[in-house]
């Protein structure tokens, strides 16, 4: 029960995949000023997969997420969900940002009811749905509060509940816990795991924390320094664990060492790139 190398784009995975990323390239700018963020990336994500992406800063993780969310168009290659090409943002792909994406003018309940209302649910029903998710993320009694009245951790819960309430097929999360303190983060990690097990959503999760990746994910993807490609990918065996205590086990530490070694190589490369630039 540890980590095993895996080809995330194997024929078998592609057959049962929901999300397919094929030959994805993304370049910003033109000519000499062009920045190549992602270079030929292939990826197949199945139902109930929890994929954590780690990689050095600036390697194109957010860019990958933006393409999947439909915020950015690929320069080459294609991305699809359930066989339909991704061209624009849509409710079937929920996004949770690091921070600052809540609607400050709405109460917690109205933030979460936004998705169901966009789906055409009557207001009362949307609010009922919202209350269910408020409970799921442990914010009972805070439905009428405004985001600015909540702590950072509570705000992230609202962001997660809001994305879940729109009932997406896949959740895209860009370092959702990066701005939180260690204790809050660990508890929220346990909770997101519980929510993932309860709802069975496909999740793509970007993080800088190897520990977070190994604790949460069914699959871990390590990206190279820019232009981002797949450096290595693994299946991780800790997704079934519910408590953070597993992170102190020997198997976990060994897995961490493996990923850390790979990531360090790329981080050093990324550092050099920056010094040259």
């Amino acid at each position: 029960m540890s980590i095993q190398p895996i080809d995330l784009f194997s024929a078998e995975r592609r057959r049962s995949a929901r999300v397919i990323v094929r030959g994805l390239e993304k370049e910003f700018g033109f000519g000499v000023a062009a920045v190549r963020a992602i270079d030929t990336l292939d990826l197949a994500l199945g139902a109930n997969d929890f994929l954590c992406v780690v990689g050095p800063s600036g390697c194109g993780k957010t860019t990958l997420l933006n393409v999947l969310a439909g915020f950015e168009a690929p320069s080459a290659g294609e991305v699809s969900l359930d066989g339909r090409q991704i061209l624009a943002p849509g409710a079937e792909r929920g996004v949770v940002f690091q921070q600052g994406a809540l609607f400050s003018w709405y109460s917690v309940r109205d933030n979460i009811a936004f998705g169901p209302e966009c789906a055409g649910k009557p207001r009362a029903e949307a609010r009922d749905i919202a209350d269910g998710y408020i409970e799921m993320v442990g914010l009972e009694g805070f439905g009428d509060r405004y985001p600015y009245e909540l702590s950072g951790g509570m705000q992230q819960r609202v962001g997660i509940a809001r994305a879940l309430a729109a009932d997406p097929d896949i959740l895209l999360m860009d370092e959702p816990f990066a701005a939180l303190d260690q204790q809050t983060r660990e508890l929220l990690q346990e909770e997101i795991k519980r929510i993932w097990q309860e709802t069975g959503k496909t999740i793509l999760w970007i993080t800088h924390s190897i520990e977070e990746a190994l604790f949460l994910a069914t699959h871990v993807l390590v990206m190279t320094a820019r232009p981002g490609r797949i450096k290595a990918s693994f299946t991780a065996g800790f997704a079934g664990e519910t408590s953070h205590l597993v992170t102190t086990s020997e198997a976990f530490t060994a897995a961490k060492r493996t990923v850390l070694g790979l990531l360090r190589e790329e981080s050093i490369k990324a550092q050099r790139q920056e010094e040259v630039a």
Binding site: A69, G70, F71, A88, P89, G90, A91, R93, G94, V95, F97, Q99, G100, A101, L102, F103, S104, W105, F114, G115, C118, A119, V137, G138, L139, E140, R145, Y146, P147, Y148, E149, L150, S151, G153, M154, Q155, R162, A163, A166, Q183, T184, L187, L188, E190, E191
Partner: protein
């Protein structure tokens, strides 16, 4: 409650309202405001003879005491000015200001929102607005009177010309400043462009729009003086201007103070509404 992380966070609402720093500081500010008014009044009283205790620094003909101004005010309420009641003059000024302001709030802000949302609209409307913006609008008043006559229209238009660019450009910038993340989040929740406009862009722009509204209240009241400078025989500003011709300094000061009071109370009203409507402003999350 499902997690201990949550319990660790102090539940809001446990401190009494009056103990909250923002409440006490608001109260403190109000007290300082009152004190400031009191000091201004005292300086005025002192400069004009200390209610009869010493000789005034300035001849009362040029600078009447507060009491004299108050008496003039009462006299104006009773007898009116130049054949019309004080209320009539006030209503005329309010009407000119109100129509211009209402037009700018509705049309100016709408145009600004459209400019912020749509590059084509912005490209078309930016030049006329930017070119007319630095022109001192009062310099145009004679021209406006030639074009639109000596009636109310030219007066309202000169105020509109001062407020319109302010409102539309502020609204446009407010739209431009809306966080991209919030817009992306809305689209990812299944919002249409229409929903994004009404439920994200518009509310997120409100703080900027309120700032512009409050600014234009001040500018608008100031513009009244210009608008009532020529070809009128009513209005508060006109009253002050014409009283000066007869050296009725007490009436001039009544007019000036009424305009100051008008501007101040409109601003206070706007503040109250602002605090209600955009209570979340500046506390981003």
């Amino acid at each position: 409650m499902s997690s201990a992380a949550f319990d660790a966070e102090a539940p809001p609402g446990t401190t009494k309202l009056a103990e909250r720093p923002e409440v006490t500081s608001a109260r403190r500010r109000r007290r300082l405001n009152l004190l400031s008014f009191a000091i201004m009044l005292l300086v005025w009283i002192a400069a004009t003879g200390g209610a009869g205790f010493w000789t005034p620094v300035v001849d009362p003909v040029f600078f009447p005491s507060p009491l004299a101004v108050f008496e003039a005010f009462l006299r104006l309420i009773e007898n009116g000015y130049q054949g019309r009641s004080l209320g009539h003059h006030l209503m005329m000024s309010l009407m000119r200001f109100g129509i211009a302001f209402g037009f700018c709030v509705t049309v100016g802000i709408t145009v600004g929102l459209l400019m912020g949302m749509n590059e084509t609209v912005q490209g078309l409307l930016d030049p006329p607005i930017e070119i007319t913006r630095p022109i001192p609008k009062l310099a145009l008043l004679p021209l406006l009177i030639i074009w639109f006559g000596i009636g109310e229209l030219s007066k309202v238009i000169v105020i509109i010309m001062a407020l319109f660019p302010l409102m539309s450009i502020s609204a446009m910038q407010a739209v431009r400043g809306v966080s991209r993340r919030k817009i992306q989040a809305a689209y990812s929740l299944g919002a249409t462009r229409w929903i994004v406009f009404w439920r994200v862009v518009l509310p997120a722009s409100l703080p900027g729009i309120f700032t512009a509204i409050r600014l234009s209240l001040g500018v608008g009241v100031t513009m009244l003086v210009g608008a009532e400078m020529i070809a009128t025989s009513n209005g508060i500003a006109w009253m002050a201007l014409s009283a000066a011709d007869f050296l009725l300094t007490d009436v001039v000061l009544v007019g000036v103070l009424m305009m100051a009071g008008l501007g101040y109370s409109l601003d206070q009203l706007a503040r109250v509404i602002e605090r209600r409507v955009v209570h979340w402003s500046g506390k981003d999350s």
